[in-house]
Symmetry: D3
Subunit: 321 residues, 6 copies
């Protein structure tokens, strides 16, 4: 009676039309208990009310637009859905009125995933979500961190608050979640709050490729540099969608012109195959600011690219195990 | 690990924020196999390419907007979710490129539901969907039919085609699915294709309350008249959302000004409690024509009203059984 | 080879799907030379830059949305397209950068129509358009004037300018185009520029039914009053679409809440059959403010209602002639 | 050199076109220090992230759309801008990441206004804003409270949180800010969270006119009832814009079909002249959900109606003083 | 009386403002009988209901947005409107409810054009439209084929159906309409249905330049390669607008990020002058998905570029004849 | 009591959330009398009704979107707000119904600024605005002129009118406002009205870098060429936002595909530091055509870049003085 329950494979759009069935990430089966899942796609519909918001509706619209994603990558090769068992686990639960408990509850959710050996590919929500996931993944030693972003997110605090989308890296470093020496930020640009807004990165030895340098280096050199910085140890990849030029992301809170094209993002992400990815996310899609969903469509495509990097890493770890 | 699996109850929006979890009708559990379900909410994302279209995306947007629906009716009294086990069964499967097989496949889907004792409350799709469901429900004797609509849908054919949203009642009567003597159409209005466009109704003794008469009679008299025509035998209710004044439904293919308000619809539908409803639907919400979803929100509210009429009928039949 | 050239009949949407063919008013034949035409539908894409504008794109969007209009009236009876030869004559030509010449050129266009015995039903453009048409129709004696509007348009001047959408009635009376004693304005409401903004009407003995009075009187009495004021002599009808409650007209420059519903407008207009209409218009639809076209759809329906009043008047005059 | 600084009068749209000058409420002068002001229009751009949000952008869009408001009321009579000195004081300052401090800071802002004898007419933000203002106004004895709303806002808590848009009246009563015996709520409707959601009102003797009763009573009786309940002692009026039927308010977080029309709201508000209003607000306009601004336009009109009730009350108190 | 009937020249936007007159392609005269026409612009408002649809409204919106096109090309040189007689012939007629007959009727329409020596430049509709036109053009020997597209359209069937936008090239080759050895596809990319989705191209010796190769080669080399493959024999050019990066085409059914910019498309198309073009089309603009019309504006510009290639080919053939 | 009055500094978005306070350019103080101001940001909400309009609402939406601008430039270095005293002076006053007087009044406004030593950075309005400002700045000798634009604006007249957005450079040269030998136009492209549309530039020795040449030269060479042409004498910079590729500017009247990216614009503008800028503007943002404001966001960013060039020039002149 169902049209959406092929075990751990996306619905095939050649058999069942794209507009049919409930919305899940990539038309994947909805497996709320995570049984038998290698990679769990999870929505984290959390946002702070600091600016143009609405990213808490992001997971829903990204699910809807991901109906357009097919099973095999553009550049050829195998499907991530054949390498690993991937499913939509639903959304992480939390109380939106209590940021403190939301951090705890969401982190606990991802900690449980980690404990069960499920690698998360998350969809925000705002960029604080990466911190939530990282806390859940927390390991004995800090991990590598690849950040695509227009903004450094390295404030000590924002309006006196220490845990939010503007303090992501500061907390990550201070709490030993990420290893600054293995951290690289790509795409910074836009007007700045202060002259000092990249000092934290420098002081902690974190590599920054702002968009000026990105353009100068070219994509291939950027890819090499990411591999050089992150190395072969475990790492996390986060893609704040405002890394893209604002013409690609009408639906995000802090759009900045003059940034990456989707082509840039695709090429660089495809170059990251080989990293030992233990988690990834895409954040900052705000549906109310883009009801037609072009931003969410880009987000869905980026999540697919993240799956294409993460699946081989998971498969490799399983084989090694 | 899940936030969406309370057995056969909608997610409680007082516990889990509305923007959390995958989109299902009324935040109900997604039960694709229909196990243990009394009333199955089903999407039928089918439309014919005859006019401003897009209603095949209707079920998805109505699910999304139905996050705003709560568990208890506006006018007080019990919740349909307490009277019956209600679930989202997903969408009926069919081939959109083959209307003939689509009719067969969709009807078969509803026939199976009927065979298993599950009462359908469907969401279109265009208004041909009602015909699909009716065929599935088909009984030894024709059933009563309550139609809210701006258009009669009584053409013999449209562009030479016999099965589509414009021929719904013609086929229904001709194939013995509906009983013309127990059929009533409410809300007709708008410019007409011909002087004869209500002749089929007259010839077959079907009661029509066009909007002129609706306004003259008032809601209470309309309610009485529906009860009088339909009586206590089994009936089906269909709500083509263009019955509403076009100011309420920017997102429908054939909007007609000068029609029912949502208040009119709510009051009349609430007055239909007591009918022996064996199936119902709401059709013609087109998301591309209303990306903000106000039309879908109205559709979700109408589906809730339909549940409030259908649930007591189901409960009554179960008690009787 | 054409699908749009049935002589002087709208394309039949039962034969040729609505989305086919170039856009003309009501899917009528496009007859730029007006040969053999009784009633000429004419666009006047003129607006003054005084407020939220864009009504110069009105005729195009109203044509597009008028694909949804069918050939027979809602309330039964004959089709205006059977009573008279009606065609789309295209748009009146003028220089948008020179309001003075635009007034002259547009008036001349309508004067030529008048000379050739073609009755105009025009589509604005802003409300100054009515003045342009009236000047073209100008007769030996002033004519009756029925105005649906939220605003009186009786300023002596606006920003020092004497010919614009705010001075329509003032000029019309002063230049002997309209007969104040046979003029009636329906639907005034909304915040006012001054306490004196209805003094011109009073001073000239023009009847005003503001929305407070409209609601008190009821539609039937309003209809009677219009007939009483205008009588059986020639008259002109103008419908500024902001007469409608702002919820019906997101796409107009000066929307005012608390006004007529489309139902009110339809009923009252239908009651005006019998007036000796020598011209009519519908103005102030602004497509950029309503890209989905609900305002234009209402405008198209109102133009159809105007045709239903105008066609019998034309037929009657022809018979009399 | 300025075009926006006529002392304490709105810019006259007959002299300076509406699209000119910075956006302030009603085109009033911007007087951030409140010097010499009787009635201060204040934005409170605060919202909680519990549902479809974005009302923190409300004050800005309402200011923009209020360019369409003129100086005199629709129903005739004097201008509130002639009775009192009214200005736009800007927005109340607060930290959006710290709801606790936001409550304190915003209340302090309104307390200072109260201390200086400035009567506030506020624009939210979400409905928690009313609580902020009330706390600032707090008097020796509780005040009367007139609430237009689709939802009771009488939860004990929401997601464990005690101060938010769902607990407004509970806190107001418990903290002695409002007098339940002099409180009246108009417009309740829509699906309910529970059967008990009006128990708080009953238990505390608060008068509720839900929309069923509203329709039954008629506007005139509702007006009388409000006067009866509130009496001649000081009161506060809050208009949650979702009291309006959802067709009027696409841009609000929890739209409910089947409610008040703008006409209903206008007539009832106009009937409240004579109340001793010591503060008022209009809340829940969310610009991202209605970029065309029809919701904000309605909000601006409602604020004007609130000014028309508040100005005579202020003038009367001044005379009495 | 007309403002739109300069014989076989577009309305000059320096004389008559762009918003004046009915909408035709490029403001060309509307010549439904095709008398004296060399190049006929034709709308084919056909789409299959397989995905996000609405392209059947494409011709109308492209006509509207083509008001912005002027008479001379950007890069200098003569106007196509001076080289040939070009007109808008209206839309091809067909029955949207019967795809089989629609194929026949539309092909017959183009066959008649071919018989009369009119070269078609068509505007879809979905990409199946190219097949319709090709069938009409059908010649003794297969023709060359230049396809700009994100998707190969080389399925054997889609949902069991053999004639639709996904099987365009398969049918074209199998029915001898196009010559695979003289066929070239530019712009393929995006997630794939299968690993084998380019096998048909390979097996038939069709040249594919996917976007990876496009970027590597550069525009100049791509132009050369097209000339090399197609040669000097007759050919057809089709531009599926989803060949463009999705940021340029919010209004198309299957948008794919990471593709051609409009600049890429313009430069490559301008390089195709000299091909013996016997027909061309631009497809897949869906107005409901882009009410502001940016996608249609791009489509209108591409149609102009196609005219600039087609006109010299037509002129050359006429001279040769 | 105010949150928007830090003397001559923008509101710091790290202290006061971006959605708080009235909308001014860059969150600057509103200083209508210009006291103590070095650089005055001024709105000029003027447009001619010649095409898709609405730019008269540009200043308001650009102010709103400029909330997203921070205080320091992307590429590092000091803030223009530290180099000079910058404020929002409001809008230039004029009568929109009288273009002649509007030219005079607006020019007089800027002449007064010039007399008081305030350097203007203006926001249109349509591109005629540059002429208004230039006339106000008028000096003993013509000044250099840097124009970013898709269109030459060098018509002798438009529809017989001599002063409008299409005749900007013609009048500027003829009236001795700009020095053709020191004038450079960057970005021309798009279909052309005539073959001769660049003859005026050639005849007057004005340098044109159309987009073909721009691409060929590269940004660095373009920057050098601008410096070479303009030299070190006083100059004016105007940025018609349609210089950008139409994918960046859905909200402009005459969008042209195939143009500058925002990155191009940013890099070239940043290269213009060192020019002796005595005034600048950004024009042609039309909010009704882009309610989500992406065009206005780009406009706000461009205005910031213009400030970053203008502030050092002003500082340098002050030091020299």
């Amino acid at each position: 009676m169902s049209n959406n329950n092929t075990p751990a494979k996306p619905v095939d759009s050649l058999s069942i039309a794209r507009f049919c069935g409930i919305s899940t990430f990539m038309r994947l089966p909805y497996v709320p208990d995570g049984q038998g899942v290698d990679i769990g796609m999870v929505g984290v519909p959390f946002d702070f009310p600091t600016n143009r918001g609405g990213t808490r509706h992001g997971p829903s619209q990204v699910r809807e637009m991901s109906r357009l994603i097919r099973r095999f990558p553009s550049s050829g090769g195998g499907s991530p859905f054949d390498e690993c068992t991937i499913a939509d686990l639903g959304d992480a639960p939390f109380n939106p009125l209590n940021p403190q408990s939301a951090v705890e509850d969401t982190s606990a959710f991802f900690a449980e995933l980690a404990a069960r050996g499920i690698t998360p590919v998350a969809c925000g929500g705002d960029h604080a979500v990466s911190y939530f996931v990282l806390r859940g993944l927390a390991r004995s030693s800090p991990i590598g961190f690849v950040q695509f972003d227009a903004h450094p997110d390295t404030s000590e605090e924002l309006y006196g608050d220490r845990y939010n989308h503007g303090t992501l890296l500061t907390r990550g470093v201070q709490e030993g979640l990420i290893d600054p020496a293995r951290t690289i930020t790509i795409g910074l640009r836009g007007t700045r709050f202060s002259r000092e807004d990249r000092d934290f990165n420098k002081a902690n030895g974190m590599r920054v490729i702002d968009f000026d340098e990105f353009e100068e280096m070219g994509r291939a050199a950027v890819i090499s540099e990411i591999h050089r910085v992150v190395g072969t140890q475990p790492c996390y990849i986060t893609f704040d969608i405002d890394a893209l030029d604002s013409s690609f992301v009408p639906g995000t809170g802090s759009p900045e012109p003059g940034g990456l094209t989707m082509r840039d993002a695709q090429i660089v992400l495809r170059g990251l195959k080989g990293l030992d990815v233990i988690g990834a996310d895409m954040c900052e899609v705000s549906p109310p600011l883009d009801p037609q969903g072009i931003t969410a469509l880009n987000g869905a495509n980026l999540l697919f690219e993240l799956l294409c990097i993460t699946a081989p890493a998971v498969a490799h770890r399983k084989k090694g195990a």
